[in-house]
């Protein structure tokens, strides 16, 4: 099934035009030193070398999205679409995050037509990470810098060119139609370079810590003072949630022009770190403090999501560390959770032993 080809970097535009003729294409773009996801029309707009600061989720789940408009009576938002969506330059962590989001919006108990409209028939062109960052921990979340999971085509940077390999039938079909005649196959030297990039990237990552005990530990730590300690290092802003490729909570607002019946119903990203997130109409807030909120973030990702969908809602992209204003480090949190869980277990055992002795 899998076929591979060589795309010289100056020829990237051919791939981009093949994509834009069939898809609405999103890719990483440099804006004053930040790399953000934007709709792109040509290859020169792309900033493929840098780590993407905003995640790829915005291509399928935009931050602000009109659900419907109204003027006294309801009129549905346009349900059609011009073209399916494609993303180029998704890192393996991001490509994998789309599969997790699809569990929430596309294939699970609930399905979201807006997500499906964009996600169905979409094409994801992944870009392997030749130089993982210090904050990267995809390897600790069961993945890796060249993991093809979630990508239809995977690009590997070999210097003056990319080696493009199809990872799914969809990717294979696209490469075949986009490169009917002028296919350039990678030479053995190209493939060797790609292999070298892969092993170098793997070797540069921190050795895999074992996070398998996190869920069990969390179950014992709801009331732990650990959360007070952890909350001390957090500003309770929403930077982590909005940059996170798997955070998907949203708010729905009706915006009506004053004095009229005209307006729109709009869906907007929301974050559990905001006090307003759980504030009830009565004024009561079941998560009144930063401690309650940071616990929710960790619990949702590493416990509740596992219960609901079988895996953690974290792909180890490290944005929440790298772009946190105060260097809050979720890896440190997980290590502390495991250690505290172990201590709690030991204490319980200790108590039982004491009782037996006393008996």
């Amino acid at each position: 099934m899998s076929s591979s080809l060589r795309i010289a970097k100056p020829d990237l535009d051919q791939l981009v035009s093949a994509l834009t003729s069939r898809y609405r294409l999103f890719g990483p773009v440099d804006v004053d030193g930040s790399t953000v996801l934007r709709e792109v029309k040509s290859a020169d707009e792309l900033a493929l070398g840098a780590a993407l600061d905003g995640s790829v989720k915005a291509a399928f789940f935009p931050q602000t999205e009109t659900l419907l408009t109204y003027d006294g009576t309801v009129s549905e938002a346009p349900s059609g679409r011009d073209k399916p969506t494609a993303v180029i330059g998704a890192r393996p962590c991001d490509a994998r995050s789309l599969l997790l989001l699809d569990k929430v919006f596309g294939t699970g108990k609930y399905w979201d037509p807006l997500w499906q409209r964009r996600h169905d028939d979409s094409l994801v062109i992944g870009l392997g990470c030749s130089a993982p960052l210090e904050t990267c921990f995809c390897n600790l979340m069961g993945s890796g810098p060249f993991d093809a999971e979630g990508s239809d085509i995977m690009l590997t940077d070999i210097g003056d060119a990319f080696v493009a390999e199809s990872c799914t039938d969809k990717g294979e079909r696209f490469l075949k139609t986009a490169y009917k005649s002028q296919v350039q196959r990678p030479s053995q030297a190209d493939l060797d370079k790609a292999g070298e990039a892969r092993s170098k990237a793997l070797a540069s990552l921190a050795p895999a810590a074992n996070y398998s005990g996190v869920k069990t530990a969390l179950a014992k730590l709801w009331d732990s003072a650990l959360w007070d300690e952890i909350a001390l290092g957090c500003l309770s802003c929403g930077a982590c949630a909005y940059l996170c490729p798997t955070c998907h909570c949203f708010d729905v607002q009706d915006e009506t022009a004053p004095g009229t019946q005209q307006g729109r119903r709009v869906r907007i990203w929301d974050t559990c770190q905001s006090a307003l997130f759980t504030k009830e109409a009565s004024g009561h807030n079941p998560r009144p403090s930063a401690k309650d909120r940071i616990r929710q973030r960790v619990m949702h990702k590493f416990s509740y999501f596992v219960d609901n969908y079988g895996e953690a809602a974290c792909v180890g992209c490290g944005r929440c560390i790298r772009l946190c204003p105060v260097d809050f480090d979720v890896r440190v949190v997980l290590e502390r959770v495991i250690a505290e869980g172990r201590r709690t277990k030991d204490k319980e055992r200790g108590t039982k032993k004491d009782v037996r002795h006393a008996g």
Binding site: S34, V36, L243, K279, D327, D329
Partner: protein
């Protein structure tokens, strides 16, 4: 020493973070952990929001020691002037600051942040102990960048604001990292009435940043924590700097220099200029 002598119950400072280019705020409670503390040009985040958090989370009478570079010292002074806490609730550990770097824009020792380049207060105006040597203040016009920007045509200035505001994702990192944004309930978190929309579209982001700029006018100490906090590089401290100059020219007030002076926006005089009134 402060902990051992019971002069402070806890110390808020910086420790080495996830890389050698980063420092993170840390709370130290025991003398044995004091060695974790560091101070260098990676220590960018303002510790003032953490000091407030510690004061609120601990029993009355708790003395919180804070490592304070010039801007953070001024922010603490300004909060005391605004009646947020009493002078004896904080122990200020003054440090001279040569400017901080942002890990995304250069390694330690490389490029100082814009607010540090124009900083005229590298040492805190008030402190209980001072660690190291005071740093000589920069000279030249701290408002030169503002004057330069004002030379642009109105349309170009607006285009610049639109470009900057277009990057905003409403995460409120700027607000939460700001030592002077301490409202119990921010206007953007009020829902009844909803003063401004919650979208990340430009009218809403613009309104948020304008409200914040006006609410920090005459209070902002130009620490630059907002710009360093922004995950997507929105650079609006220049707007705050412009308002700082306005307040200084009109009311002769500079934030964070005196615990006794009445803050500019907390008083009025019949002599205040009011040529803008119709």
């Amino acid at each position: 020493m402060l902990l051992k002598d019971k002069k402070a119950d806890l110390v808020i400072g910086y420790e080495r973070g996830s890389s050698k280019r980063r420092a993170r705020p840390v709370v130290i409670r025991a003398d044995k952990d004091v060695d974790r503390l560091i101070f260098d040009d990676t220590c960018g985040p303002s510790l003032v929001p953490f000091a407030r958090k510690a004061l609120r989370a601990t029993p009355l009478g708790t003395r919180v020691a804070v490592v304070a570079k010039g801007c953070d010292g001024r922010a603490l002074v300004q909060q005391i002037a605004e009646g947020q806490f009493k002078r004896d609730q904080v122990v200020m550990i003054g440090v001279g600051c040569n400017g901080v770097t942002d890990h995304r824009r250069g390694a330690s020792g490389e490029k100082r942040e814009a607010s540090c380049e124009r900083c005229r207060y590298p040492n805190p105006p008030v402190y209980d102990v001072f660690v190291g040597e005071p740093v000589a203040a920069g000279t030249g016009d701290e408002f030169a960048g503002v004057a330069e920007f004002e030379k642009l045509a109105s349309a170009d200035r607006w285009a610049w604001f639109e470009h900057e505001l277009g990057k905003c994702i409403r995460c409120y990192a700027c607000r939460n990292a700001c030592p002077m944004c301490y409202c119990e309930e921010c206007v953007v978190d009020q829902t009844n009435p909803l003063w401004l929309g919650k979208s990340a579209e430009r009218p809403d982001t613009t309104l948020f940043h304008l409200v914040r700029a006006l609410h920090t006018a005459g209070r902002c100490v130009d620490c630059g924590a907002c710009e360093r906090a922004c995950p997507l590089g929105v650079r609006l401290a220049l707007l705050n700097k412009r308002l700082e100059r306005e307040v200084r020219e009109r009311f002769g007030y500079t934030a964070g220099l005196s615990m006794e002076a009445t803050p500019a926006l907390a008083t009025y005089s019949e002599e205040d200029k009011q040529e803008f009134m119709l």
